[in-house]
Amino acid sequence: MLTIVDSAAQAVEPITDGSTVMIGGFGVAGQPVELIDALIEQGATDLTVVNNNAGNGDVGLAKLIQLGRVRKIICSFPRQSDSYHFDAKYHAGEIELEVVPQGNLAERIRAAGAGIGAFYTPTGYGTPLAEGKETRELDGKMQILEFPITADFSLTKALTADKAGNLVYRKTARNFGPIMAAAARTSIVQVSDVVERGALDPEVVVTPGIYVDTVVSIPDPAVGHA
């Protein structure tokens, strides 16, 4: 059932130590900045985080990593020019890293939301990232078996929600939002605006409300760091 809360702090309140948390965004687009800040403030630790990257600069996910609150990160591209907090934790052996090809990451998240037990894909076959994975020749191609990535919570950003929880996004800020909302047991979404039922054209809804548990309105969201 959809809950519309008044603050980002209320939205992230249920996140407990040891949770797996998916965090949306690619670069600055779609970063749920206020929800991540609220999670930093909230204090949950020993987290497994699923994101495309491993934080930039000193804020957001990078801050969460710097504070030692992330036990493991599942991502496609951790190393960046300003991922120094992740780099330090990684070299010190203080964070576990699972690197996943970006399409496998997206499809494993999608699979979790769609109830798919596992799938075969050629992506990654013959590379170090396929080591130890089951392989099979299908359709004349060698493929590897990949499993869904499930999560306890997702933190994502959309442009507008209606009071049925239906979401629309803006441009490339959509990125991981729809698939993470579907994959997480509890999906938490920040939006710029909450409108009445009937105010969104049903033909343009991207994420139907069935995937959305908690919505918080953050009218002028900060632009993330990346």
Partner: protein, 219 residues
């Protein structure tokens, strides 16, 4: 035999023009981060090429500047870009399904090494202390109908980047169909044969000297 000189090599811009001329009209194309991005400068409206960016857009336009910059509109290199008429947005799983499902006609990628079997190494140097980071390279290399590589023929240390067998960790197996370098264009035939389609300011023998396995001349 012509001796190899620096002057014989194409600039990255000249090479980008060569690659652009080989992209079929009407194609859906993904240009990798870095040098391959230059190819877009040589595509014309008449080519009717649609650019895909894996963070979730088809019909990507050029780089945005000044007032045009919108933090919600970036490319896979996280650079602000513009829309084109007829563009569309979609989520990450749909975006990668376009590659993985074989819908993209062509991708252009950089490389550390390509070998005669068309194996590609472009994501990890293999140094033990390096943090692995792959992004969408494996999906692109394996999923696009054709994978073109754009690189210098030799590394800064003088070693050939077109090799008998890749020694660096692979990105994809047997996925590369053409290699565009500053010295020559190579066609990877898929059966271990590599044909030199054209050379730039040097001859076949000079290119062969740089490559550690036997090349074939184009007919």
């Amino acid at each position: 035999m012509t001796s190899m000189t620096k002057d014989a090599a194409l600039t990255p811009e000249q090479l980008a023009e060569v690659v652009a001329a080989d992209i079929p009209a009407g194609a859906y194309v993904n240009l990798g981060i870095g040098q391959p991005t230059l190819v877009s400068n040589y595509l014309t409206p008449e080519d009717d090429v649609t650019l895909h960016t894996e963070n979730g857009m088809l019909g990507m336009g050029g780089e945005a500047h000044g007032d045009e910059v919108d933090p919600d509109l970036i490319n896979a290199g996280k650079i602000p870009v513009k829309e084109t008429d007829g563009c569309s947005y979609f989520h990450h799983a749909d975006s990668f399904a376009m590659m993985r499902g074989g819908h993209l006609d062509c991708c252009v990628l950089g490389a550390f090494q390509v070998d005669r079997a068309g194996n590609l190494a472009n994501w990890h140097t293999g140094k033990p202390d390096a943090i692995p980071a792959v992004g969408g390279a494996m999906d692109l290399a394996t999923g696009a109908k054709q994978t073109f590589v754009m690189m210098t023929l030799t590394a800064k240390n003088g070693q050939a980047k077109l090799v008998e067998n890749c020694t660096m960790p692979l990105t994809g197996v047997g996925c590369v169909s053409r290699v565009y370098t500053d010295q020559a264009v190579f066609l990877i035939e898929g059966d271990g044969r590599v044909v030199v389609r054209e050379t730039f300011g040097c001859d076949f023998e000079a290119v062969q000297e740089l490559v550690p396995f036997p090349l074939e001349r184009s007919e």
